[in-house]
C-alpha cells in the first residue's frame, strides 16, 4: 500500500508540494529568495522538456520566451495598468504563445539540426531586441508591483509554488490527452503519427505553443519576484544552459525539470561557498550533460528506469496477466470462431457488393523521370482480404504510401466506400477509416500497449476491448511498455492498433516480415478472420506466398508499377507473366 501510494504521481506531487510549502516557515531572506528562484527556474527547463524531451525538436531559445513574458508584464506595468498578479502571470504566458506558434510553423518543414540553427538564431534576434528595447520601465526604475497580499517574500513563494503546481497539473493533463500523447508519437515518427490519424502539424504547433506559454509564465513570475529584470538574462547563453540542464536532468518528466532548477540554484551557491568561481558550474553542467545525451537518459529517466526495474522484481499487485501467454490456448479459441468483441450481426463476405470498400482508379506516381506506378486500378470489395504482390521495386510500397496519403503528388483516384479521398492528408484518411501499418515498426516506445491502442482507436477503450484485441493479434499484455517488447510484438501491436480503430480498410505492409514461421502462420489465420471479426477489408502487401495463398480472396500482381495480373490467388499466381516476373526478379 505504502509503495503504491508513493508510485501515485498525484500523491507524490502533493507530498512534494507540502514539503516545499513549508520552506518559508523555516527560512527567510536570502535562502527563501533562492528557493523562489528555484521554483521559477523550473518553468523554462520544463518547457525545453516538452519541446525537446517529448516532441524531440531541438530548441535553443526557451529563455527568449521567458524574456517575452517578462517584457510584456513590464510593458503593461510601465503603461500604468495595475492588474492583479494572477492576470499578469496569465498574460505573460499568453504573450509568448504567438512566437511559439511561429517557430512551430517553421518546425513543420524543418527538423533536426535545422531547427537547432533556427531556434539559436531566434534567440540571437530576441536578445538584440532586448538590447535595443530594454524592459519598459527598467531605466526609470518602475517596479512591477505584486500587489496585496503577495508583497511578502513568503506569500510570493507560495504564489510561485501554486502557479507551478497549476502549470504542472495542466501540462500533465494535456500530456495525457490525445494531442499531448501525439507529441511523443511525433518524436518517434511523423508518419507513424499520421497513420494513427494524428495530425503532425497540430502536434508540433501545440507543443511549441504550450512550451512557449510555460516559459512565458516563468518570465512573468521572474519579473514579479525582483520587480525589474535586465534583458541580458534572456540571451543565447542562458538558453543554451537551460537546454543543457533539461537534457542532463531529463526534463521530459516534471521531476527532471525540478531537479534541474534546483541544481541551477544550488550548485553555484555551493561553488561560491567552496571559493570556486561561478563559471565552473556551467562547465560541470555541460560536461555531465554529455553522458546523458549519449544514453538518452537524463537523471529523471534513469530514476524512473530504476524504479521500474524494482517494481518488475515484485509480483504485480493487481493480478495482471503474465507477459508471456500460452499461444496454443488462444489459437484454439479463435479457430472456433468465438469472438468476444463483435458477436452481433456478422455478415459473411459476399463476392459482389454495391460499392467496394476501397477503389483505386488509374493511379500513377512519377518520381522525376521514373514512373513508379502506372495506371494502377484495384478494387477491394467490402469485407475481403486482398493481397498485392510483386517483385522488389514493383511499386507496392509506393502504392500503399499513395493510397494512405503519404505521397501527395499522385494522379488518379482513391475512393473509400465511395468517398473520394484525393487531396486528403494522411491523418484525415486514417480518421476516415483507411489505416495502414509500416514495414519498419513505428510504435512509440514511450507508451504502454494500452495507451498506444487507445491512441490508435481515438477513443477510450475499456479493458475488455483492449484484451480482446491483444488476444486476437497475440500481442503482449496491455500494461507493458512498448520499449520493453520485441520488434515482432510491436508489429502485432501496430496491427492491433489498426483493428481497434474500426477501420473500413486496413493496409498491412509486409506484416509477416521478421516473424518466425510459426507466428507468421498464426498471423495468416488472424488476417483471414479480420473481415468477419472487425468488419473491415484488409489489403496485404506480402512476399510470403504461402501466406498469400492461405489468406487472400483476391490477388493483384504488380511489376514495374503496372498491374500484370489480378484474380483469385490460384488463378493470378499461375499466370505465365507473373511467373516470369518473379523468376526474372529472383
Amino acid at each position: 500500500m505504502k509503495r503504491a501510494s508513493l508510485r501515485n504521481p498525484v500523491l507524490l506531487g502533493l507530498l512534494a508540494l507540502l514539503i516545499a510549502g513549508c520552506i518559508p516557515l523555516c527560512v527567510q531572506g536570502f535562502p527563501l529568495y533562492l528557493a523562489t528562484a528555484a521554483v521559477i527556474g523550473v518553468f523554462p527547463i520544463l518547457s525545453v522538456g516538452l519541446i525537446t524531451g517529448r516532441a524531440g525538436i531541438i530548441t535553443l531559445c526557451q529563455l527568449s520566451f521567458t524574456g517575452i513574458g517578462a517584457w510584456s508584464v513590464a510593458a503593461l506595468n510601465a503603461a500604468g495598468y495595475s492588474l492583479p498578479i494572477g492576470l499578469l502571470i496569465l498574460l505573460g504566458g499568453l504573450a509568448a504563445v504567438p512566437f511559439g506558434l511561429l517557430l512551430g510553423l517553421a518546425s513543420l518543414r524543418l527538423r533536426g539540426i535545422n531547427m537547432g540553427i533556427v531556434t539559436l538564431m531566434f534567440a540571437a534576434a530576441a536578445a538584440a531586441y532586448f538590447q535595443l528595447y530594454p524592459l519598459p520601465g527598467l531605466s526609470a526604475g518602475k517596479v512591477v508591483d505584486r500587489g496585496a497580499p503577495f508583497e511578502s517574500d513568503s506569500a510570493f513563494f507560495w504564489l510561485s509554488l501554486t502557479v507551478l503546481a497549476l502549470v504542472v497539473g495542466v501540462v500533465s493533463l494535456v500530456s495525457r490527452s490525445r494531442t499531448g500523447t501525439s507529441w511523443l508519437v511525433v518524436r518517434t515518427s511523423e508518419r507513424g503519427a499520421a497513420s494513427l490519424g494524428l495530425p503532425t502539424a497540430v502536434a508540433k504547433l501545440t507543443v511549441f505553443m504550450v512550451g512557449a506559454a510555460v516559459s512565458g509564465v516563468g518570465g512573468a513570475l521572474l519579473i514579479a519576484q525582483t520587480g525589474v529584470v535586465s534583458g541580458d538574462s534572456f540571451g543565447i547563453l542562458p538558453s543554451i544552459v537551460v537546454f543543457t540542464l533539461a537534457i542532463l536532468f531529463g526534463a521530459r518528466f516534471i521531476e527532471g525539470a525540478i531537479l534541474g532548477a534546483l541544481a541551477s540554484v544550488v550548485v553555484p551557491q555551493l561553488l561560491l561557498a567552496a571559493g570556486i568561481p561561478n563559471d565552473i558550474g556551467t562547465l560541470i553542467f555541460a560536461v555531465t550533460a554529455l553522458p546523458a545525451l549519449r544514453t538518452g537518459y537524463g537523471m529523471a529517466e534513469a530514476l524512473r528506469a530504476r524504479l521500474a526495474r524494482r517494481s518488475n522484481n515484485n509480483p504485480a499487485p493487481d493480478g495482471r496477466r503474465e507477459s508471456k501467454r500460452s499461444i496454443s490456448r488462444d489459437r484454439s479459441r479463435w479457430r472456433q470462431g468465438t469472438e468476444p468483441v463483435h458477436t452481433d450481426d456478422r455478415v459473411l463476405p459476399t463476392a459482389v457488393e454495391a460499392t467496394p470498400a476501397l477503389s483505386i482508379l488509374d493511379l500513377s506516381v512519377q518520381y522525376g523521370s521514373v514512373r513508379a506506378l502506372d495506371g494502377v486500378t484495384i478494387s477491394v470489395p467490402s469485407r475481403s482480404v486482398v493481397a498485392i504482390v510483386g517483385p522488389n521495386g514493383a511499386g507496392k510500397s509506393t502504392l500503399v504510401d499513395a493510397v494512405a496519403g503519404f505521397l501527395p503528388g499522385y494522379t488518379g483516384e482513391v475512393r473509400l466506400n465511395g468517398t473520394n479521398l484525393d487531396g486528403w492528408q494522411a491523418h484525415r484518411r486514417a480518421q476516415a477509416g483507411l489505416r495502414r501499418t509500416f514495414q519498419q515498426v513505428r510504435a512509440t516506445a514511450d507508451l504502454t500497449v494500452q495507451q498506444y491502442l487507445q491512441l490508435a482507436a481515438g477513443r477510450r477503450l475499456d479493458r475488455d476491448e483492449v484484451d480482446a484485441v491483444l488476444d486476437f493479434v497475440q500481442g503482449p499484455t496491455a500494461r507493458s511498455l512498448i520499449a520493453n517488447v520485441d520488434v515482432g510484438s510491436r508489429r502485432l501491436i501496430e496491427i492491433g492498433g489498426g483493428l481497434v480503430s474500426e477501420p473500413a480498410v486496413l493496409l498491412l505492409d509486409e506484416p509477416a516480415a521478421g516473424l518466425p514461421s510459426s507466428e507468421s502462420e498464426l498471423l495468416g489465420e488472424r488476417i483471414s478472420l479480420m473481415p468477419s471479426v472487425f468488419k473491415c477489408s484488409v489489403v496485404v502487401i506480402e512476399h510470403d506466398m504461402t501466406l498469400v495463398h492461405s489468406v487472400c480472396d483476391e490477388v493483384t500482381v504488380l511489376n514495374f508499377g503496372r498491374v500484370i495480373a489480378t484474380g483469385s490467388p490460384k488463378h493470378a499466381l499461375s499466370d505465365p507473366l507473373v511467373v516470369s516476373a518473379f523468376l526474372g526478379a529472383e
Binding site: 524543418l110 537547432g116 540553427i117 539559436l120 538564431m121 537534457i247 563559471d279 565552473i280
Partner: protein, 285 residues
C-alpha cells in the same frame, strides 16, 4: 551606401571562411559542430597570450594551431566514442554542450583583458570604393577560395575523400566494410582543427577580440554554410560574402542597423524553408 555594402566584405570573408570550416566538418564527419569557432578561439587567444610573453609570432601560431588541433581531435574522439551510433540531432546537441563547456573554460583561462593584437597582415592592402581592405581580408578571402578548391578536389577526387564521405554518411556501414573509421576520424578532426584554428587566427584581428565574441561567430558562419546547404562549398563562399554585404548595407541605415540578428534569422529561415518545402515527412519511407 556602396561603401557600406563593400565594407561588409571584411565580415563576409570571415563568415565565408568559418562557414567553409563548418561545411568541411559536416561533410567529412556528419556533424554540425557548434563548437567549431570556440575551438578556433581557443587557439587564437593562446597565440595572443604566447606572443605577449615575447615569443616569436610564427612559433606562437604553430603552438596555437597545435593546441586548437588537440582540442578538436579530443572533441572528435568524444563524438566517435560516445555518439557514433546516435543521430545527427543528438550529435549536434553534444557539440552545443561542448560549446558551453569551452565558453566556460575560455572565460576562465583567458579572461577579458585586452589583447595585443599582432596583426602582421594589416601593413598592406588596397582601396575599393573608398574602403580599404587590409591583408587580413585579402588573406581570409584567399584562404576561403583555396580551401574551397582543396576540399572540392579532396572530397571528390581522392580515395581518402571518398572514404571520409562514406564514414560521414553511414559510420556503421563504413565500419562494417572494414574502413579504418578511428584513423579517419582522427584525420578529419586534425584537419578541421588545423583549418579552423588557422582561420580564426587570420580573422581574429578584424573580427571580435573576446573569446565569447569569436565563439559566437558560429552563428553567421552557420548561416553561410546553410546557403550552400552544408554541401556546396562555392555556395557557402558566396553565402558568407552575401551575408557580410547585407549586414554592411544595413549598417548604413540607422533605422534597421540594430536588427541585423533578425535579418540573419530571416535569411536562414527562408532559405531553409524554401529548401525543405517538400519535406512533409521526417523520413523517406
Amino acid at each position: 551606401m556602396i561603401e557600406s555594402t563593400i565594407s561588409g566584405l571584411v565580415n563576409g570573408s570571415v563568415y565565408a571562411l568559418l562557414g567553409l570550416c563548418l561545411v568541411a566538418t559536416y561533410r567529412t564527419s556528419g556533424v554540425l559542430n557548434f563548437a567549431q569557432t570556440a575551438v578556433g578561439a581557443f587557439a587564437a587567444l593562446t597565440a595572443v597570450d604566447l606572443i605577449g610573453t615575447g615569443m616569436p609570432t610564427w612559433v606562437a601560431w604553430l603552438i596555437a594551431i597545435a593546441v586548437g588541433t588537440v582540442v578538436s581531435v579530443l572533441l572528435g574522439l568524444m563524438l566517435y566514442r560516445w555518439f557514433s551510433q546516435t543521430g545527427a540531432r543528438i550529435k549536434t546537441s553534444a557539440t552545443i554542450a561542448a560549446l558551453l563547456a569551452l565558453l566556460a573554460i575560455g572565460d576562465r583561462v583567458f579572461g577579458d583583458t585586452p589583447r595585443s593584437f599582432v596583426d602582421p597582415f594589416s601593413l598592406f592592402g588596397f582601396t575599393l570604393w573608398g574602403v580599404r581592405f587590409t591583408g587580413d581580408t585579402i588573406i581570409a578571402l584567399g584562404a576561403a577560395v583555396v580551401l574551397t578548391i582543396a576540399l572540392d578536389v579532396m572530397l571528390r577526387r581522392t580515395r581518402t575523400g571518398h572514404r571520409l564521405r562514406a564514414v560521414a554518411g553511414r559510420p556503421l556501414t563504413a565500419e562494417l566494410l572494414g574502413l579504418p573509421v578511428l584513423a579517419l576520424t582522427i584525420i578529419v578532426w586534425t584537419f578541421v582543427g588545423v583549418v579552423g584554428s588557422a582561420s580564426i587566427l587570420i580573422i581574429a584581428p578584424t573580427a571580435s577580440s573576446t573569446f565569447t565574441g569569436l565563439s559566437l561567430l558560429v552563428l553567421p558562419a552557420t548561416a553561410a554554410a546553410l546557403f550552400g546547404g552544408f554541401e556546396s562549398l562555392w555556395l557557402t563562399l558566396v553565402g558568407g560574402l552575401l551575408l557580410g554585404m547585407i549586414s554592411g548595407l544595413t549598417s548604413y541605415f540607422a533605422v534597421i542597423a540594430p536588427y541585423n540578428a533578425t535579418l540573419q534569422l530571416a535569411f536562414v529561415t527562408l532559405i531553409l524553408i524554401f529548401k525543405q518545402r517538400g519535406e512533409r515527412w521526417d523520413e523517406a519511407r
